[in-house]
């Protein structure tokens, strides 16, 4: 793509990612509405089928693993709505992606202000 050299640890949500992740992102976009969040919680697999997720995407949803979700084409703005279902905020998902404890991740954020 024309964006330029890869930046380590930094996904770029380009056309390829958008094509790959369309179903997954569409499902996550639906989580703006409470009735859809409830429907997902009631029957996760049926809800994923309704949005025609690929096997990779279903597996990533099952795993609750953000890096896997991104690899499956997920965009973080929509994935944040999926994380919200479980009450996870951006520190929780930051800690998960970097492999830090939540306290270490928060300390890392604070250290960058020094």
């Amino acid at each position: 793509m024309t964006f330029g050299a890869p930046i380590p640890g930094t996904p770029v949500f380009d056309g390829d990612a958008a094509v790959k992740g369309y179903a997954l992102n569409k499902m996550c976009f639906s989580f703006n509405a409470k009735e859809n969040r409830d429907a997902f919680l009631q029957n996760e697999e049926a809800y994923c089928d309704k949005y025609r997720l690929s096997d990779e995407q279903k597996q990533a949803i099952k795993s609750r693993n953000v890096l896997q979700l991104i690899a499956a084409g997920g965009n973080v703005y929509y994935l944040a709505k999926f994380a919200g279902i479980f009450g996870l905020n951006v520190q929780d998902i930051g800690a998960q992606q970097t492999g830090m404890s939540i306290d270490d991740f928060k300390a890392y954020l604070v250290s960058q202000g020094k």
């Binding site: 793509m1 024309t2 964006f3 330029g4 050299a5 930046i7 380590p8 640890g9 930094t10 996904p11 770029v12 949500f13 380009d14 056309g15 958008a18 369309y22 992102n25 569409k26 996550c28 976009f29 989580f31 703006n32 509405a33 409470k34 969040r37 953000v66 890096l67 991104i70 965009n75 973080v76 703005y77 929509y78 994935l79 944040a80 709505k81 994380a83 919200g84 279902i85 009450g87 905020n89 951006v90 520190q91 998902i93 930051g94 992606q97 970097t98 991740f105 890392y108 954020l109 604070v110 960058q112 202000g113």
Partner: protein, 288 residues
């Protein structure tokens, strides 16, 4: 004629909404950020703008990947906030200013900006929280609003140069609106942050301070950044800097900084607030 009296740029992280709802403005974590708005409150109380033109980026409340506008402008009489999925309270509706919206749209399209025009916009936290920061205490919003959305979700994103030119065109449009109204500009987003990937949590204080310095003295320098450079230096969501660039470019007069605050972190973000006054150029005064 309409007059741009100044503008405010601010971060807009969703947790600000939680902090407001839970009344944490005075907590040690939040106080430095919320205190940054005190000079803005005094200024707004004195200047009493009629309309706020809010330049921001939607995060998947209004716009989805099915049709992603690069630049979109609201032209409705009213705008609603809605559930974004993570439990921050929904704020009350905002009054629009359809006449000014359509004037800006007409002017921009004549200026060769092919924008998306919207009769309905659900405004997300990037619009609502800066409004709540400017006008705290759950009062009736004292200004009408015009939402301007820039695509920060789907690459290719508009270039910094294009956002700068869009801002200039918005400034020209407002300046030529025939009604005697006072307009305040908002640019909401940034500064450096990255939510996704193994580099999640990345904040770049030196780069943020450099951006704030350029906002003051040399906004053209911001327009020269490539999006690759911005992602590298400000993180993948640091691209929200585009809203600051457009807002700064829209101030067409002599611009004076009234206040600036930088505080790390708010949530995962370099928290930054800047307040500017915009005065007509001397030749404009002479012509009046």
């Amino acid at each position: 004629m309409a007059r741009i009296i100044g503008g405010l740029t601010t971060s807009h992280v969703p947790s600000i909404g939680k902090a407001i709802a839970q009344k944490e403005q005075e907590s040690p974590y939040w106080k430095p950020f919320f205190d940054a708005f005190k000079p803005a409150h005094e200024w707004l109380a004195r200047e009493k703008p009629d309309v706020a033109v809010v330049i921001y980026n939607d995060h998947g409340l209004n716009n989805f990947l099915d049709k992603m506008p690069t630049f979109a402008i609201g032209a409705a009489a009213e705008y609603h906030n809605a559930d974004e999925g993570w439990g921050i309270p929904v704020l009350k509706p905002f009054r629009g200013h359809p006449k000014l919206s359509w004037h800006i749209i007409e002017s921009l399209v004549a200026d060769e900006f092919d924008i998306t025009m919207c009769q309905e916009v659900l405004v997300d936290h990037a619009f609502t929280l800066p409004m709540a920061l400017m006008y705290p205490g759950n009062i009736d919003w004292p200004v009408a609003t015009v939402p301007v959305m820039l695509n920060s979700v789907q690459h290719p994103l508009p270039t910094a140069r294009r956002c700068y030119k869009l801002g200039q065109a918005i400034g020209r449009a407002i300046d030529s609106f025939p009604e005697d109204i006072k307009v305040v500009l908002l640019g909401t987003g940034g500064l450096s942050h990255q939510l996704d990937g193994k580099r999640a949590g990345f904040i770049n204080k030196p780069f943020d301070l450099w951006c704030m310095d350029k906002m003051r003295n040399d906004p053209e320098a911001l327009a020269r950044l490539s999006n690759h450079e911005i992602v590298e230096k400000a993180g993948s969501q640091g691209v929200e800097l585009m809203t600051w660039i457009a807002m700064r470019a829209a101030m067409t007069g002599r611009v004076k900084e009234l206040h600036a605050t930088y505080h790390v972190p708010i949530s995962n973000t370099g928290g930054a607030v800047m307040l500017f006054e915009n005065n007509p150029q001397p030749h404009a005064i002479a012509a009046e």
